[in-house]
Structure formats: C-alpha cells, structure tokens
Amino acid sequence: MEHIIFYCLAAILLFAATMVVTVRNPVRAALFLILAFFTSAGVWLLLEAEFLALTLVLVYVGAVMVLFLFVVMMLDIDLAPLQEGFTKYLPLGMFVAALITIEMIAVLGANHFGLDIVPSPSPHPADYSNTKEIGLLLYTVYVYPFEIASVILTVAIVAAITLTLRQKNSKSQDISQQVKVRREDRVRIVKMQSSPRKTKEQGEQL
C-alpha cells in the first residue's frame, strides 16, 4: 500500500516538475510548481516527517508561492520574444545544466546516500512525535546554526524593507494625524455680506 502511494506521488511529482520547465504560460508554471511542492510534502509524510511536510505546505505553498503567483500574474508576458533567444542561449544553458547534473551526482550519489550508509528508517511506534524530535535536535545540537540562520534572515528582511524606504516623498499616510483632524483643519467658513435682494419692480425697470 505504501509503495503504491509512493509511486503515485512520485509520478505526479515528476510530471509536475517537468511541466514547470516546459509549459509556456508562466502562471501555469507557477501552479505546477505548487503541485510539485504539495506532492513532495506527501512524500515526506510517507517518511514520517510530518512536521517538515506540513511546514513545506505552510511556508512554500501557503505563503511563498502566493507572492510568486502575485508577481507572475501582474506580468504581461508576450510569449514570442521569450523564444527568440533560445538557440543563442542554448550552449550556456546546456553548460549550466551539465554542471548541476555533475554536482548532484557527486553529492547525492550512492557513495554518500547509499543504503549501506543511510539505512532505510525503521517504522516508529504510534506515539512517536516527529515535531518533538526536531524541536529537541534544533534547540540543543544545532542551536548555533539555527540562530545564525535566523539572524541572516532577519538581516535580509531589514535590508529589503530599507530598500523600499529610499524614496522620501512617498505618499504614506499618518493614521494618528488622520484621526486627530478637526473640522477647523479642513473647512473654512467665510461669512459674507449678502447684497440686498432685488425687488420685482427694480427688475422690470432694468
């Protein structure tokens, strides 16, 4: 049963990943990427890594890809010019692809991740809590890498916000000023001397 589910998920994952790079419409590509994330979360669930699987859905599917889709949808993409440079960039693309493939073979090959080095995990009892295990590891053994990673992310957030604050003449509104406003600040009532009304007789004379 587990094998059937795994191969179903793997097939969907490979299909979605292929579609991400081959489909022409960028919005569809982003949607296929979401499908790929979601199915890989399913594969992780089969590994009893439910915390990582749910975090993948929460962070990547729930937040990152929404913003991705947000940006991609706003682009008005004319498809023809995108295909023009295909032959021109083909050698460079092939080179990068070959480089990545070699790197992945070197790192992810059987020497490092073979069954004799990383044996298949034995199934855990029902009361095993993956969340608790990750929490204990993260805050004891890996506490320094964890803290350093969070500091780097915070720096990135601050830097990104600083970039948006560069222009000083932005039309940002001060809510407290808007709330404090009184009628006298907005409306000026001018008292004017009204001219005496013309009577009917005067009008006829003119």
Partner: protein
Amino acid sequence: MIDWIVSTPVVFTILKIVAIIVPLMLAVAYLTYAERKIIGYIQVRIGPNRVGPWGLLQPIADGLKLALKEVIFPAKSNLYLFLVAPVLAIGPALAAWAVMPFDATMTLANIDAGLLYILAITSMGVYGIVIAGWASNSRYAFLGALRSAAQVVSYEIAMGFALVGVLVAAGSLNLGQIVLGQQGGFWHWYWLPLLPLFVVYFISGVAETNRAPFDVSEGESEIVAGFHVEYSGMAFAVFFLAEYADMILISMLASVMFMGGWLSPFQGIPGLESLFSWVPGIVWLLLKTSFFLFLYLWFRATFPRYRYDQIMRLGWKVFIPVTLVWLIVVATAQVMDIGPWFSEPASHNSVALMEGTD
C-alpha cells in the same frame, strides 16, 4: 452489517467523513439564513419570512435557484483554471475539518501536529480566490484576487503567531491535548491568559475569511463583487459554500483553542457541574462556535469596510508586534512557573526538556 462497516477502515472512514460534511453543509445553509435574519433584526427589518414557516426554507430555495441557473463562461477566460478555482477554494475549507476534535474521542484523524495541519491547509484556500480572479479575464476580478492574496498572506503571520502562543501554553500541537490543557472551568480557558492573542486570532480569522469589515476582495462598492464577479450558478455557490465553511471552521477553532473546546463552562463550580454533567461535550463546542459565528454577523452589521492601507497597517504594524510581545510574556510565564495558569504544565515540560538534553 454494522460489524462489517466498522471492520472495514475505508468504508468506516468515508461514513465518518459524510457524518462531518453533511451537517456542515446544512450548517452553512442555515448560517446564511441566520445571517439574513440577525442582520435584519439589527437593522430593524424582519428578514426572509416568505418561504416556509418564518422563512426557514429560504436557504433551500436559494440553493435550488443557484443549482438551476446557467454557469456562464466569460469569453477569453482560462476555462480550465476557471473551473478548477471553486474546487480549490472548497477543498481546503473541507479538508481542515479532518483534525477537528468534536469531543474527547470524536476526531476523524487525531494526528500529532493537528494545529500545524490546520494552518497549512487553510493557507491553501487563497489559491481558489487568486486563480478565480486571474482566470476570469476581468479587471474587477483580478483586483479582488490581488487584494485577497496580499491580505491573506499578511494576516496569516499574525494568526500563526497567535497559535504559537497557544501551543507554548498547551505544550502540544495536538488539538485534543490543547483542549485538555484548558481543564478547570471558565477562568482556566486560554482566552484569559492569552487575551491579546485571542483577540488577534479572531480578528485575523475574520480577515482570513474575507468577511466584513475586511471584505475588500469582494467590496461591492469598489469592485462590484471582486474575485467572483464572473461566476454564476453552481460555480458561484461553491465559492459561497467555501466562505461560510471557513467561517464555521475559524469559529470552531477559536472555541477549541481559546474557549475550552468541548469542556463544560461549569467545571469546578460545585452545584452546577453535576447539574450539567449529562450534557455531551459536542453541545458545548457547538454553543461556543455559534457565539463566534454571531460575532461574525454582528461585525458585518456594525463596522464599515476598512480602507485597504488600514488593513495592511493593522495586520503588520499592530497585530504582529502585539503577538510577538505576548509570546515572550507567555514563554516567560511558562518557564518561570507563574501561576495560576502556567504553574502545573510548565514543570511537566521542563522535565521533558531535561530528559531530552541528557
């Protein structure tokens, strides 16, 4: 027959799912009726009263009307995505109910990371709206989709932090454990020690479900009907179902996490506790949920729609700092064993942590 059903997990699970979905759909139908009646009375009107006694058959009539209407496909729309969008909206709205603890033993899937599952699944609901807006090939729909995407992502952070406070206080991600952590009557429920988080959670929940006063994604006065302006008939009805199912979900989650879930409010009060001990837990849960649903309707009848920049300001500059500060307060109280709420479970947790570090 019954033995066969119970012994076949697939059939039994499907029956349980039906036992959740069917009452949920009925609740959605009568929530629309309650909404029209309550807002009617708030505005000194009578509300629907023509179809059936007191208008009770009005939701059935509305559903029938929507089912019989033609589904119109806009020209040059992306037909496939146009049809997938309502499904993507209602799928997460129903899937999240899988981990809901209706009673001490009444849960479809009692998983360890239930809270995380709820957050992950509900965060996917926004795709239905975004894809609907884009696939409709309409400017109003697209504007609604963009507004909704930005708003939901912003409020999800505040909502997530509020839930982190709950899990710090309960020491568990399991929704049943969170309810059991609140045992001891009304004053022991998390709404009091986590009051700022409770308020932030519920208001973020209103924003997440795109309800008034945060309903800018379908603001009638600005963008006609927002993301579902091009939808008609059953396709529109599915969006409608998803929105109301989400409202019920948020209300029930608020009662599970801050109002003691299925626990009786009279726990610990000498005379009343035994007097009401025959009431099944699910009744308390449903009563608490109804209270939050009433708040939804009350909000809608009371507040004018927020301006878009005010929504963003409230989410990012008010709610997130408030939750961050209160998270520190809760964590400190938990570690220092500050009573009356955090004295007992905290000692339990620190023991567990000590064992882990050895």
